[in-house]
């Protein structure tokens, strides 16, 4: 392989667009050519910078509302957004995913209303579907956040009095997951906190609620359709993160969140 070809192919290689045959030829060339190897290193670094150091434009709320209001679809769900969060009934979005609906119906029929989320949590597939449904719902109707983040110090206190527990809202800026905000959500009739983080253009919904027997390490779950999920339990809380972000980075998110979560304060007496 000539350098002229190599210099072009390193880009396809970095973008995972190079087939196996060309990849082998390229790597062989790089073994003997310091200049091209250096070019690869530089472009690897550049890509890294672009992904991690370049903030993405965020759509201002005012503009978002304006765009949605101009669309016929915006008006029906938007009217709902104007009401207070507690009056918003997620079941109005019954049309969400057929899978989620089937799963929900199945559990209602089979489990009855007294079944706790923990018992259903053992049915991971069903909970994955619920969580994905909640994620898509929040994106479709643009109800991503009820409170936007000035810092974690605006989001966490917002939940006071709205939930019977205090949600974890760790600052994950250093790990590359800026906080977007939070909202109340409902999973199977249970009020949960949804904390929203971003990674590049992906939104990550982190659902949390108190219900767990013992700590469990993060486990991945493919939610289908290009969406991924990861879930774990810690200090009496269950956490589910769902996003279109790839599994590897979502797992990194889970680790970062776990590491940064504040341990519950020990009551003094």
């Amino acid at each position: 392989m000539q350098c002229s070809e190599a210099k072009l192919l390193i880009h396809a290689y970095l973008d995972n667009e190079l087939d196996a045959g060309d990849s082998v030829r390229l790597l062989r060339h790089l073994q003997t050519c310091a200049a091209c190897a250096s070019a690869l290193a530089q472009h690897t670094q550049l890509k890294d910078l672009l992904h991690n150091a370049t903030p993405q434009p965020a759509l201002p709320e005012v503009a978002r509302r304006r765009v949605l209001a101009a669309l016929p679809t915006g008006s029906s769900t938007h009217a709902a957004a104007a009401t207070s969060p507690s009056s918003r009934r997620p079941m109005q979005h019954w049309h969400a995913l057929p899978i989620a609906l089937a799963a929900s119906l199945l559990l209602l029929i089979g489990g009855g209303f007294g079944v706790t989320l923990q018992q259903r949590a053992s049915d991971t597939a069903a909970l994955t579907a619920d969580v994905l449904s909640g994620h898509l719902r929040s994106l479709q109707a643009q109800h991503l956040t009820d409170v936007t983040a000035g810092s974690q110090h605006t989001v966490k206190p917002w939940f006071d009095g709205k939930l019977e527990f205090v949600p974890q809202v760790p600052d994950l800026d250093a790990a590359g997951f800026p906080l977007a905000g939070g909202r109340l959500d409902v999973l199977h009739g249970r009020r949960v906190a949804a904390i929203v983080y971003h990674r590049r253009l992906h939104a990550i919904n982190l659902f949390e609620w108190p219900e767990a027997a013992s700590d469990a390490a993060p486990a991945s779950a493919d939610a289908g359709g290009g969406y991924h999920a990861v879930h774990w339990t810690q200090a009496g809380m269950t956490y589910w993160a769902v996003s279109s972000l790839n599994q590897a980075e979502l797992d990194t998110f889970a680790q970062a969140f776990r590491g940064a979560a504040v341990p519950p304060s020990i009551p003094t007496h």
Binding site: H11, S38, L46, L50, L59, T73, L139, R200, L201
Partner: protein
């Protein structure tokens, strides 16, 4: 070109609205990001987005889209050029040779120093300074995470051209960052 000022004249078929909401609206933020990068961070971005979403609704067929995001981004891109009264620059098809000769050799700076000085602000400015035909493929690849195939579909370029244009865009960025005065050493990990 007449803008779509309202979609009131389209009968709001409930099922169609629903499918649009499920398939297309989730990509609203991606659409805005593209509009912002194309308009170089200007206020135009919101206008482009607004117009693009109205057109998207108007053109939406209601059937299953295997790639609703690429479809929407195509509309955003075309809307941008239309509102500017320009033809999209797909007409400039790079040849393989042009790509090779166009790309300069490695910048003669040790790689450890090359990008260390560039901070987020400088990078953003460097991207905004890129000529449009390079900026759009770079943004679609790096920020919208589109495959070469999708970029080819969105821009109307051949895949070989996508690759060569991307290579040139990145080379230009390296140069722009190398020339920029060094920022804080701690700005880049």
């Amino acid at each position: 070109m007449r803008t779509v000022s309202s979609v009131a004249e389209i009968r709001p078929d409930a099922a169609r609205c629903l499918r649009f909401e499920q398939q297309v609206l989730p990509h609203l933020d991606a659409a805005y990001a593209l509009a912002r990068w194309l308009t170089q961070g200007g206020a135009d971005a919101e206008d482009v987005l607004q117009e693009a979403m109205l057109r998207a609704y108007r053109y939406y067929g209601g059937g299953a889209h295997d790639n609703a995001r690429a479809w929407l981004l195509t509309i955003v891109r075309n809307t941008f050029y239309t509102l500017r009264g320009q033809e999209p620059v797909a007409a400039l098809q790079d040849t393989f040779d042009e790509a090779i000769h166009g790309a300069d050799g490695n910048v003669a700076t040790p790689e450890s120093q090359l990008l260390r000085g560039a901070d987020a602000q400088q990078l953003r400015q460097a991207i905004e300074q890129l000529p449009l035909e390079f900026r759009e493929v770079l943004v679609l690849r790096e920020f919208e995470e589109c495959s070469y195939k999708d970029i080819a579909e969105i821009t109307g370029l051949k895949m070989g051209t996508v690759m060569s244009r991307l290579a040139r865009a990145r080379e230009r960025l390296l140069h722009l960052c190398a020339d920029a005065p060094p920022g804080q050493p701690d700005a880049v990990q």
